[in-house]
Amino acid sequence: MHNIDPISKLYYILFAIIIPIILPSFIVSVICVALSVLLLLAAKVIRKTLPVYSFVFLVLITVIVIQGLFRPGNETILFHLGPFAMHKEGLLFALTIVLRVTNIVSAFMLLVLTTKPSDLVESLVRRGMSPRIGYVIVSVFQIIPEMMSTMSTIMDAQRSRGMETEGKLLVRMKAFIPLLAPVVLGSLINTKERAMALEVRGFNSRNPKTYLNEEKTYSYSKWIQVAMLLVTIFAVAWRVFL
């Protein structure tokens, strides 16, 4: 899974979103979710998905409860939750939402967890995305860990001069706020320097850009993309003619 073309994975996200829209039946949605989960399993990244899934489900549970209790058009009572009644229509509607969200989240995770951001951006730039935008995306991924490490160095420096940063939550909060200024200021100063460094190396040059890495040849890219296209066409046909 890690060796599949990032572009194919992008198409897969599109595919996983479109198919349940074309064929809005439970079974199709379930199949899509199952497919993504299987692929995540095959890529051995399922462990990393757990925190994301648990967060998403936390939100979805509220959707289920609210829809089940209060959706307009609720008629058939299934069971009672204390003084409130759960309705079949609401629950079914909530189920479609749950499936859709899980589906989209799974497809995105398949891309995010199995692709280095720089690979993805490079593939996109090769396919005609502006290198400028590519740089912006890549740098966001770089800046976050950088800011984290600056943050901890600055924190160390302040601790060295007697600022208490360990212990109770309140102490930590108090310590955190004054640190923001140097971190943000520091990254702004960095940005200026970085811009100059880029300019010196011809970032704005109009010549076509070359690439540091050789283009990776991904196996099966064509087949995967064609297969997905065929399934999509088939789905449309199914929807239109049957």
Binding site: T153, I154, Q158, S160, R161, G162, T165
Partner: protein
């Protein structure tokens, strides 16, 4: 003053050990810690300062074990000047920056201001009290960081690469500060790559290599062991090498010594 015994450390439990089995004792001699990048010097200093916690072994400063205290509590005993001033500076004026540590250790405002101004006078920034530290030059920023640690009047002062980016005048100020601290009977330690500066200013030198102490002793004695130094990729000061090449028997540390020796 500081006693380190059987100290080992690694950043992650499974990772390679950054320091292994360090046993050192520090007295009040000025001490330089040298060695290649990645030899574990900075890590060692951070452990002394309580910014990192020891895995194995003990560090005692006076009667206290470092592990038992937070870095903030240690701030009264031990001061550390960071290598990059931008990591340390975060107040709006030079005076506030120098007072920051003093206020943290609960020193009254007027006293703190007096001590801060004194420290700033030592580094020659007394006429820039109201300036924003970010408008200072790199070398001035470093001096400000030194002043803000000096103001706290700790028994132990550690400098991380104080001489980087300093012009001659800046070096002279740092030299004077080290002598001043020595006179006040404080322990001055520094991590440094400038061997000339080590030879001229430090009584004791410790060479780190791959997380171990390779050499430890009087600076003159350390710089006389050329082969061992080579193992740590450390080059003796230029004048020391010159003296050896021209065949002088004693290990020479400064230009003055060289001139004297040749004049005999």
């Amino acid at each position: 003053m500081i006693k380190v015994s059987n100290l080992s450390f690694s950043y992650s439990p499974a990772g390679p050990s950054v320091l292994s089995d360090i046993n050192l004792e520090f007295d009040r001699r000025t001490t330089a810690i040298i060695g290649q990048n990645g030899a574990g010097k900075s890590t060692f200093v951070k452990l002394l300062k309580g910014l990192l916690k020891t895995d194995q072994g003990e560090i005692f400063i006076g009667d206290y074990e470092v592990k038992m205290k937070t870095a903030a509590e240690l701030a009264r005993q031990i001061g550390l000047v960071f290598q990059n001033p931008d990591d340390q500076i975060f107040k709006r004026t030079v005076l506030d920056e120098a007072m920051f540590g003093l206020l943290n250790i609960k020193i009254g405002k007027s006293t703190a201001e007096r001590l801060a101004v004194e420290a700033l006078e030592m580094v020659g920034l007394e006429d820039k009290l109201a300036v924003n530290p970010h408008d200072l030059s790199l070398s001035e920023k470093k001096l400000l960081c030194i002043a803000s640690v000096m103001a706290m009047d700790t028994d132990i002062v550690i400098f991380d690469e104080p001489t980087i980016g300093q012009d001659h005048a800046g070096m002279e100020i740092i030299r004077r500060i080290i002598q001043e601290l020595k006179k006040k009977n404080k322990l001055v330690m520094t991590i440094i790559h400038d061997m000339d500066f080590v030879a001229e200013n430090f009584d004791r030198t410790i060479v780190f290599n791959n997380g171990k102490v390779l050499l430890d002793g009087e600076t003159r004695e350390v710089f006389s062991q050329k082969e061992v130094l080579m193992e740590a990729n450390v080059e003796p000061p230029g004048v020391t090498q010159l003296a050896e090449r021209v065949g002088l028997k004693n290990t020479i540390l400064t230009v003055e010594e060289f001139v004297q020796e040749c004049g005999k």
